[in-house]
C-alpha cells in the first residue's frame, strides 16, 4: 500500500526538488558579479523570459530585446534579491514580465500621441516560430493545471499576468463585477499553488 501511495504522490507532485535548478543560489552568485552564474541563469530561464516577452508583446516589439534588458537588469539588481521573499526563478521572471508589460504601455502611449498627428496603420507581424522545448514535464503539468481552470478563471488570470491589470481593470475589461473577478483569481491561484504544495518552490 505504501508503495502505491508513494507512486501516487510522485505522480501528483509536479514540482519536486530534483527538477529544480537552484536559481536562488545562481542569483546570489550573480550579485557577486559571477558571469558564469548569469550564463547559467540565462540557460535556465532565458527561454521562459523570451516566451513571456513574446506573449506579452505580441506583434508590438522585439521580444529578444526584452530578454536582453531583463538579464542586464538581473546583473545590475541581483544584490537586491532576497531569497526569503521569493524564489530566484520568480524574481528573474517577474523582471521579464514587467519589462515586457512596460514596453507595451510605452508603445501604447506613443501610439496615442501619434494618433493625434496622423492615422496609424496596423503593424501586425506574424509571431516567430516556436523554437526549442525544454522542461516539458513542468510545462505539461502547469498546462494541465491551467486547463483545469474554468475559462473565466483562466481569462482573468491571463489578463492579470500578461497585461499587468489590477482587479478593477480586469473587472472593467471583462464587464464582470469586481467581487466575481476576485473570486475567479483566488480560485485560479489556489489551484496553481496546489501544484507546489508538496515540493519546495521552484
Amino acid at each position: 500500500v505504501s508503495s502505491v501511495f508513494s507512486f501516487l504522490l510522485a505522480a501528483l507532485v509536479p514540482v519536486r526538488r530534483r527538477e529544480q535548478d537552484d536559481c536562488d543560489a545562481l542569483v546570489e552568485r550573480v550579485a557577486a558579479h559571477d558571469r558564469a552564474a548569469l550564463r547559467a541563469l540565462y540557460d535556465a530561464l532565458g527561454g521562459h523570459a523570451l516566451a513571456i516577452a513574446r506573449r506579452v508583446l505580441g506583434s508590438h516589439g522585439d521580444a529578444e530585446e526584452v530578454v536582453q534588458d531583463t538579464f542586464v537588469e538581473i546583473w545590475r539588481r541581483a544584490a537586491t534579491f532576497d531569497r526569503r521573499r521569493g524564489t530566484g526563478r520568480a524574481w528573474a521572471l517577474s523582471i521579464a514580465r514587467y519589462r515586457a508589460i512596460d514596453r507595451v504601455r510605452e508603445r501604447a502611449a506613443a501610439s496615442r500621441l501619434i494618433d493625434r498627428v496622423s492615422a496609424v496603420g496596423d503593424a501586425a507581424e506574424p509571431p516567430s516560430p516556436i523554437a526549442e522545448v525544454s522542461e516539458r514535464e513542468l510545462r505539461a503539468r502547469v498546462t494541465a493545471a491551467l486547463a483545469a481552470l474554468s475559462a473565466d478563471e483562466r481569462g482573468a488570470l491571463e489578463l492579470a499576468y500578461y497585461e499587468g491589470l489590477s482587479h478593477s481593470e480586469i473587472s472593467r475589461r471583462l464587464a464582470a463585477p469586481l467581487g466575481t473577478i476576485k473570486t475567479r483569481l483566488r480560485a485560479a491561484m489556489a489551484k496553481l499553488s496546489s501544484l507546489l504544495d508538496h515540493g519546495d518552490a521552484p
Binding site: 530578454v67 521573499r85 520568480a90 501619434i114 503593424a123 502547469v142
Partner: protein, 235 residues
C-alpha cells in the same frame, strides 16, 4: 496591516492585481522587520505566480541576444550624475505661444516637410526594433516627449509638445553615458512643436546610452557648455 491580513492578500499581491493603495499597504507591511509567516507565504505565492508562464513553450533566444547582454554588462554601470543639469524652463510658456503663432503662418512647404517628419516617425515606431524613451521636464514643466530610436540608426524622433526653441535659440540633443554628456545633433521640430527629429551618432556607433536630453542653446553656439535642460529621460 497585520500579518494575517497580509497573508490573506499575499497571492493577489504577488500576482500584482491589488489596487495601488492595497499594494502600498502590503509593501509597507513587508518592509517591517517582524513577521509571522508573511515572508514564507510571500515566497510561496511568488513561486506560484512564476508557474503561470511555464505553460508557454520556452523559446531559445538568438545567440546575438547573449552577446548583447555581455556587451551591456561590460559597459560601465550607469552612475548618478554628480551635478544635476542646471535647469530653467520658464521660457516654455513663451515657446508654446510662439508655436501657436508660427502654426498660423506656416506655409505649404513647411506643411509638406512636417508631414514627412511625421510619417518617418510613424514608420520608425512601427518597426519591431523601435525603442521608446519618455523624456520629461526635469524642472516639472509641461514639456514632455517620447523619443523613438532604433539600434544602428542615428536618426531619432520625438513626439510630444512644446518642441520648438525660443527665438534665437536652437534645441540640442544629448546622449548621456555614465558621467559623460555627449553633444549630438540639433532637434528640428514641425511647426506645431509636436514632432521633431535629429541625429544621435552615439546610437549608430553602438555606444551604451543611459539617458537622453534636450537643452536650449544659442544658435551658432557649440562645444561642451550647454544651456538649460528642457527634456531628460533615462533609457
Amino acid at each position: 496591516m497585520t500579518c494575517d491580513e497580509l497573508k490573506a492578500l499575499v497571492m493577489e499581491y504577488a500576482l500584482g492585481v491589488l489596487e495601488p493603495a492595497q499594494q502600498a499597504a502590503c509593501d509597507a507591511h513587508l518592509a517591517g522587520a517582524a513577521h509571522d509567516g508573511c515572508l514564507e507565504a510571500l515566497r510561496a505565492a511568488r513561486a506560484a505566480v512564476a508557474l503561470i508562464p511555464h505553460a508557454l513553450p520556452p523559446e531559445a533566444p538568438r545567440p546575438a541576444t547573449w552577446a548583447a547582454i555581455e556587451h551591456a554588462i561590460d559597459a560601465p554601470t550607469p552612475a548618478r550624475r554628480r551635478r544635476p543639469w542646471v535647469a530653467a524652463a520658464g521660457w516654455l510658456v513663451a515657446a508654446a505661444a510662439m508655436v501657436a503663432v508660427i502654426a498660423l503662418w506656416r506655409d505649404r512647404a513647411q506643411r509638406v516637410a512636417d508631414a514627412q517628419v511625421q510619417q518617418a516617425a510613424i514608420a520608425m515606431l512601427q518597426r519591431p526594433d523601435a525603442r521608446l524613451v519618455t523624456l520629461t521636464s526635469p524642472t516639472g514643466g509641461d514639456a514632455r516627449a517620447t523619443l523613438i530610436y532604433r539600434p544602428d540608426d542615428p536618426r531619432v524622433y520625438l513626439i510630444g509638445n512644446g518642441l520648438r526653441p525660443p527665438p534665437g535659440k536652437r534645441l540640442q540633443l544629448w546622449a548621456v553615458r555614465g558621467e559623460r554628456q555627449i553633444p549630438e545633433g540639433t532637434l528640428r521640430a514641425d511647426a506645431a512643436g509636436a514632432v521633431g527629429t535629429g541625429e544621435i551618432a552615439a546610437i549608430r556607433d553602438g555606444q551604451a546610452i543611459d539617458a537622453f536630453g534636450v537643452t536650449v542653446e544659442p544658435i551658432g553656439g557649440g562645444g561642451d557648455a550647454h544651456g538649460p535642460v528642457m527634456l531628460y529621460g533615462k533609457r
